[in-house]
């Protein structure tokens, strides 16, 4: 067990390193393929009023003329040990997880990300709870009452749910349910309120995004749970469990659902991990100041260090979620032995 966890941790770190290399290479190469030069990149740091010499000097000092591998080495070292940035007027210290400086604001990226992570986490956690309970619950009932009215209605709604773009449902729900609209369910002042300031306002400001996001995922999970349950309920061990005289509730939950849960846990880990890196469409539809909105704004301004920061943070969450999922397997599925 311990060796397994250590091995998984090492692979997680290796994976993050690979992701950072690919990300760095792409964000380094693509602007250059598109015609950017060291000087044009450096001029973003020193501002528009700088002279040509200042720009050349900054490009030299920031190391934009160094080979790709040297630049990546400096970037990686910054994440582990921090880095010193020097672009003319003075040296600035960027402390340990240093993901570089924004082109636009010249502020370090990491503190920005730290400010945004709670918003995205609130959104993802709330939505995840809603969709897991409603999606899996609906799927189980549908499978048990296969062919019934409930099953057909629920599966039709689920199919519609996976066929609607979230930015469309988001806007429709804003038009219908936000404050001042016909079917208002939210309080005035729709912008995000941190949970430690006012928990009630926090929930109010997130209820629409939660439901919109959860609806999309719940639809997929309901379909997945239903087909998984239909398969496991036909297994021999279910017949054995019934033959033992176990109550049907125990058969369904402890034997049937447990067997059907494995693929759901896998996908749940991946989905939550990716969402932690920002629900781009939901956040931009509902103007939530999370990582997704942050990355969109950064992309619009061609602020590559910020985008790279978000990509790496997301990859971190996905790796972490995958690790937790693999450990959960052993709990959920008694057939899995970790080795």
């Amino acid at each position: 067990m311990v060796t397994y966890i250590i091995r998984r941790l090492i692979w997680g770190v290796v994976m993050l390193a690979i992701v950072s290399m690919i990300t760095f290479a792409i964000f380094f190469l693509v602007p250059r393929l598109a015609g950017a030069t060291s000087e044009s990149l450096a001029s973003r740091y020193v501002g528009r009023t700088a002279t040509a010499e200042q720009v050349t000097l900054a490009a030299e000092k920031l190391g934009f003329n160094d080979p790709l591998i040297v630049q990546y080495g400096r970037f990686a070292k910054g994440i582990v040990a921090g880095a010193d940035y020097d672009y003319g007027p003075g040296v600035e210290r960027c402390p340990a997880p240093c993901l570089g400086y924004s082109f636009l604001t010249r502020l370090p990226v990491w503190p920005d990300l730290l400010n945004r992570i709670p918003v995205t986490m609130s959104l993802a956690a709330g939505a995840a709870i809603i969709w897991l309970l409603s999606g899996v619950g609906t799927g189980v009932i549908s499978a048990l009452r296969r062919g019934s009215f409930f099953d057909r209605a629920a599966m039709s709604v689920a199919l519609a749910g996976v066929s609607l773009p979230i930015f469309f449902t988001g806007i429709v729900s804003l038009v219908l349910f936000s404050y001042g609209r016909p079917l208002a369910i939210t309080a005035p002042g729709g912008s995000y309120t941190p949970i430690n300031e006012n928990p009630a306002m926090w929930a109010y400001s997130l209820i629409l995004p939660w439901i919109t996001l959860a609806f999309l995922y719940a639809a997929g999970y309901a379909r997945l749970t239903r087909s998984g349950m239909l398969e496991t309920m036909n297994e021999d061990y279910i017949r054995t469990a019934r033959a033992k005289g176990l109550p049907e509730r125990v058969v369904v939950v402890k034997h049937g659902l447990r067997g059907a849960l494995t693929p759901i846990v896998t996908i749940f880990g991946l989905d939550v991990g990716l969402l932690m890196g920002g629900a781009v469409l939901t956040e931009s539809t509902f103007s939530l100041p999370g990582l997704g909105k942050y990355s969109i704004d950064a992309i619009v301004n061609q602020d590559l260090p910020k985008v790279m920061g978000v990509v790496l943070v997301t990859a971190f969450f996905v790796v972490l979620a995958n690790l937790l999922v693999d450990l959960l397997y052993a709990v959920v599925d008694p057939r899995v032995r970790l080795s």
Partner: protein, 330 residues
């Protein structure tokens, strides 16, 4: 290792029997998997409806110029005469008439019907080509990983893990956002379409790859593969002649189910402003323009419904195809 059966004994040679006879006295014919699937699919009215809508939409996309010229309102033409100069909204609210079936846009009065019809071209073209790319890469690498196993398998599987850890949408937006208007010798819509096909297709292959790897792993242990190997068949022969025909069904199913995902993906990129550039009509782009005019709901309604109907039709057809080809999954 399975020992080859000795079937040369003369006692096994029997006189040809008449074939089995069905209840109505007719001979029962052997049916291929394809025929069985087709019979099942024919009974599935919902899937057939989906297929019908899909075919209809493909025809609409192909004949878009013809359809639009029938109404005489090209998608990028302004119809300022229908717009109120005060509110910038269509004069009668929507502008819906026999000439403008879905009404006109606020501000410049472009015909929404024409734009939705032309939007189908971009949407379907990108979704189809991107799916083709994903399926090609995913099948090739998935089969190689599943068949050869060992370090090849772990290399490809770990590559898939890395790909799945990328925030696909952020990455796609960033890439689509930093490529300039002229690059790689292409420009305009051609550049944007190829770029989107590449981004969507290239980052989606691990999903197909994982499925193909799993399928290949189970096929590899089947008797007919053992038989082929014991007859002296080599890797490429077994992969192409023995395994690939058995992978056609899952490839078809997952390709059909990947298309709607890719349609939603393209719509999301266009919605965020990094898809095909305006004024070319895209469904996602229309919705993002319509957001500012949410008090004029028909503007958002028609492109939204276009996405919904298209994605739903592909999902219905894909589900039906899966049920028909793989009845266990029902």
């Amino acid at each position: 290792m399975t020992a080859p059966l000795d079937v040369s004994g003369s006692e096994l040679e029997v006189a040809p029997e008449p074939g089995p006879v069905g209840p109505a006295g007719r001979a029962i014919e052997g049916r291929s998997l394809g025929q069985i699937a087709w019979t099942r699919l024919k009974r599935d009215k919902v899937a057939l409806t989906g297929a019908g809508v899909v075919i209809f939409l493909i025809l609409v996309a192909i004949f878009a110029p013809l359809i639009v010229s029938g109404f005489g309102h090209p998608p990028n033409d302004f119809n300022q005469d229908l717009i109120s100069t005060e509110t910038l909204a269509p004069k009668d609210g929507t502008g819906i008439s026999a000439a403008h079936l879905f009404g006109v846009e606020p501000v410049n009065g472009r015909d929404i019907f024409s734009r939705v019809v032309y939007g189908a071209r971009i949407s379907l073209l990108i979704a189809f080509l991107a799916t083709l790319l994903s399926v090609a890469i995913g099948t090739a690498l998935g089969v190689i990983a599943g068949y050869f196993g060992g370090w090849v398998d772990s290399l490809i599987s770990k590559t898939m893990d890395v790909f799945l850890a990328f925030p696909l949408l952020v990455f796609a937006i960033a890439l689509a956002g930093i490529v300039p208007d002229t690059a790689f010798g292409l420009s305009g819509d051609t550049l944007r379409v190829s770029l989107l096909v590449f981004i969507i297709g290239f980052f989606n292959w691990p999903y197909i790859g994982r499925i193909m790897r799993g399928q290949t792993l189970s096929l590899r242990e089947r008797e007919f593969v053992d038989a082929a190997r014991s007859l002296g068949a080599r890797g490429p022969y077994i992969i192409f002649r023995e395994m690939l025909p058995n992978l056609v069904a899952p490839i078809l199913i997952y390709a059909t189910l990947l298309i709607p995902t890719n349609i939603l993906f393209e719509a999301a990129l266009s919605f965020l402003g990094v898809g095909v550039r305006p004024p070319t009509a895209t469904w996602g782009g229309m919705i993002s323009e319509a957001v500012r005019f949410y008090s004029i709901p028909h503007f958002m309604f028609f492109p939204g419904m276009a996405i919904f109907v298209t994605v739903l039709a592909f999902n219905l057809f894909g589900d039906g195809l899966r049920d028909a080809l793989d009845p266990r999954a029902r």
